[in-house]
């Protein structure tokens, strides 16, 4: 059924269709409408889930340790400060190999308040072990939730779906909401490989001495790498059921491109307009949309970007002391490859500042081949 809904509601429908057992969440703008909608769905009995109305995001994530260990499919959603509050528990849930799915509506964080789009919140969680997928459209959000459970429960790691505050969370788009029975065929009920069982009692977690800890960590790393092999299978299955799919990265006109623009999230949609316009003017530009960011699909990035003569990355985030996170990670991924074009970095759109097609074009044209130096980020649109 096609319906015009907001990005946040697309997520809620994904959660409903995934037949989650336990939901736990705490409100924060701009995530609130997800949990409001889920509360309604639970109240209307469209979802047979227990919804724990916790007193903080920290408890939201922590409750899912208990729920997922005890065998329920679980969901939470947060944003900005709420996600940061969860940080310790994010390490815990990934290390405990719990296949939780969470939506993070990317919201700015700093020492002052701002509720608008910026990806620094989720990027600050990149070392936790959570798989991260960045989305651009509402359809991708709904589908992304369904695919996330398949992936999470296969590799036994949690998955975070990240997307821009307001630009995506509160924008209405037409979304194809699949039928529940098709989803049921794609996504069978959650069966944890190690069950909480009173007849066969196990200890989950506990104290790991130096004799075991390193190996334990290595298994988490292996599971994350395994996600790169499993994900294409999930895509094939999804495509077979729904006739659409989403790769580790999405590329557009990159094959013969001299310059490849790299974006993640809502800026991608704006960039498409620019790429089209510049192509029509004869400029050989292409676009790579980052989707999976943890684990990094290194081979994939190298294959797409290796043939370009330069790469331009727009980061709607800031790692203070470094610059753009995506640019830095792409640079290091390309470094050991035999073909590594220079990676230019632009910071734009922090705290929800609009990034227009003119901005994207301006960024591309400011970065001529050796000007500015690729090591120094371009702070686009900064008022001086």
């Amino acid at each position: 059924m096609k319906k015009a809904i907001k990005g946040n509601h697309a997520v809620s429908h994904g959660v409903r269709l995934s037949r989650v057992g336990v939901i736990s969440a705490y409100p924060i703008t701009p995530q609130t409408t997800i949990v409001e909608e889920l509360s309604e769905m639970c109240a209307r009995r469209e979802i047979d889930a227990r919804f724990i109305k916790v007193e903080s995001e920290h408890s939201a994530m922590a409750s899912l340790i208990g729920a997922a260990t005890a065998g329920a499919r679980t969901f939470t959603a947060s944003s900005g400060n709420g996600l940061l509050l969860m940080h310790e528990v994010l390490h815990w849930t990934a290390g405990a190999r719990l296949p939780i799915v969470m939506a993070d509506v990317n919201r700015a964080v700093s020492g002052v308040w701002n509720i608008w789009a910026e990806q620094t919140d989720s990027l600050a969680q990149r070392d936790t072990g959570w798989i991260q997928i960045y989305c651009e459209s509402s359809q991708e959000l709904l589908d992304g939730v369904l695919m996330a459970y398949r992936l999470a429960e296969k590799v036994m790691l949690p998955v975070m779906i990240a997307y821009d505050a307001f630009f995506l969370s509160h924008t209405t788009e037409i979304v194809d909401i699949p039928d529940a029975d098709v989803v049921d065929r794609f996504l069978p009920p959650y069966e944890p490989p190690v069950q909480l069982n009173f007849d066969d009692p196990r200890m989950f977690g506990g104290f790991f001495s130096t004799d075991y800890f390193y190996e334990h960590r290595y298994t988490v790393q292996q599971a994350s790498q395994e996600a790169l092999n499993v994900y294409p299978e999930v895509c094939r299955e999804f495509n077979a059921h729904f006739g659409r799919s989403y790769d580790l990265v999405e590329t557009w006109l990159t094959d013969d491109a001299d310059t490849i623009l790299v974006t993640a999230g809502a800026i991608t949609s704006v960039s498409r307009i620019v790429i089209e316009r510049l192509r029509s003017q004869g400029e050989k530009v292409g676009l790579m949309k980052l989707r999976m960011f943890r684990p990094i699909p290194v081979e994939c990035w190298r294959k797409v970007l290796g043939n370009a003569s330069r790469v331009v990355v727009i980061d709607r985030n800031l790692s203070v002391g470094v610059g753009g996170v995506f640019a830095a990670e792409i640079r290091s991924a390309l470094y050991a490859s035999d073909r590594h074009p220079p990676v230019y970095s632009a910071i734009a759109g922090l705290g929800g500042r609009d990034v227009t097609p003119e901005d994207v074009e301006g960024i591309l044209h400011s970065m001529k081949v050796d000007d500015p130096s690729p090591d120094i980020p371009l702070y686009w649109g900064l008022k001086r």
Binding site: S59, S63, A70, A72, F198, R202
Partner: protein
């Protein structure tokens, strides 16, 4: 006078659910309580452990000494981890289970209080047990808000003994209108057993506050730990009672029934209890008087509440 311990035989679970081989210190009271608690709760119990001495000494991968499922969790999260497990068991249709948190005083009074308050306010179906050894023992005897006034710890050293009274966690829990709140001590094992039996049968939030001697932190001989815990009750520093919610016939008419479940066989002055432990060695007389007064006041208050309950029952 010797107090008779009477646990009805048929109520005891024959199987030992807590096995030997733990690495706790000698004379640690916490394992004694756990052993009795599990006999009352049976094997359909999940235990949630935050960081604390118990979480370390009950196992160490790949071993566990508990024959029930155990979930370890971050220090400050235990109550809500239990809420999540209870919700999942409910949605899975598992009946007749108990999800029990077993947390230290740090994980209850201090860092864990936010999650605990949330779970209590929501009346989640869990049993939260605090084994209170009155300091952060696992990290090397630092003060907590459960540390009594006048106690030495490594962060309240000589010259800076703890000057604030112990936080009243029992009143805090009661202020959440929970179904059941009790204190217990392994020095009175029959009472402790009966309280876990009772808690098991109540749906909603249950809280049990256990006194838990720690020879290493209290600076006592391990052989004396049970004797000293008994003195805590005899001196009324740690009265043993329970408060049970009685659901009213009409909404808004719930009442809470107080019962003092252990009337000690003899009374001892607070100073005797304090003198029995190295941690109170540097305490001033002034502080002893204060603690005696607090103990007297709490006892009077309990008697009053118990009598009021009895009157109401008539």
């Amino acid at each position: 006078m010797q107090r008779k311990i009477a646990i009805p035989r048929e109520l005891l679970v024959d199987e030992e659910l807590m096995l030997p081989g733990m690495t706790s210190c000698q004379g640690c009271a916490a394992p004694i309580s756990m052993k009795i608690a599990l006999k009352a709760l049976g094997n359909r119990t999940v235990i949630v452990f935050p960081a604390c001495c118990f979480c370390v000494f009950q196992g160490g991968y790949p071993y566990t000494n508990l024959k029930v499922p155990v979930i370890h969790c971050p220090f400050e999260t235990s109550a809500v981890v239990a809420s999540g497990a209870a919700a999942a068991l409910d949605v899975r249709g598992e009946k007749d289970t108990t999800v029990m948190v077993w947390a230290g005083d740090g994980g209850t009074f201090d860092i864990g209080i936010q999650a605990l308050s949330g779970a209590a306010e929501r009346n989640d179906n869990i049993l939260f047990v605090c084994y209170d050894n009155e300091a952060y023992m696992n990290t090397g005897i630092q003060r907590s808000s459960a540390t009594p006034m006048g106690a030495w710890t490594t962060t309240t050293p000589a010259g800076a003994l703890k000057s604030e009274p112990k936080k009243d966690i029992e009143q805090i829990m009661l202020a959440h209108h929970i179904a059941y709140m009790a204190t217990a001590s392994p020095a009175y094992p029959d009472d402790l057993y009966r309280k876990f039996q009772k808690a098991r049968q109540i749906t909603g939030m249950k809280f049990i506050h256990l006194l838990s001697a720690c020879p290493s932190g209290w600076r006592i001989d391990p052989a004396d730990s049970v004797r000293i815990m008994r003195m805590a009750t005899q001196s009324r520093v740690f009265p043993i009672y329970e408060v049970t919610k009685q659901t009213g016939a009409v909404p808004g008419e719930d009442t809470w029934e107080y019962d003092i479940t252990v009337i000690p066989e003899k009374e001892v002055p607070v100073s005797d209890y304090l003198k029995s432990q190295g941690r109170f060695r540097l305490m001033t007389d002034d502080m002893v008087v204060k603690i005696q007064k607090q103990a007297d006041r709490k006892w009077r208050d309990l008697i009053e509440k118990r009598d009021a309950t009895r009157l109401a029952c008539v």
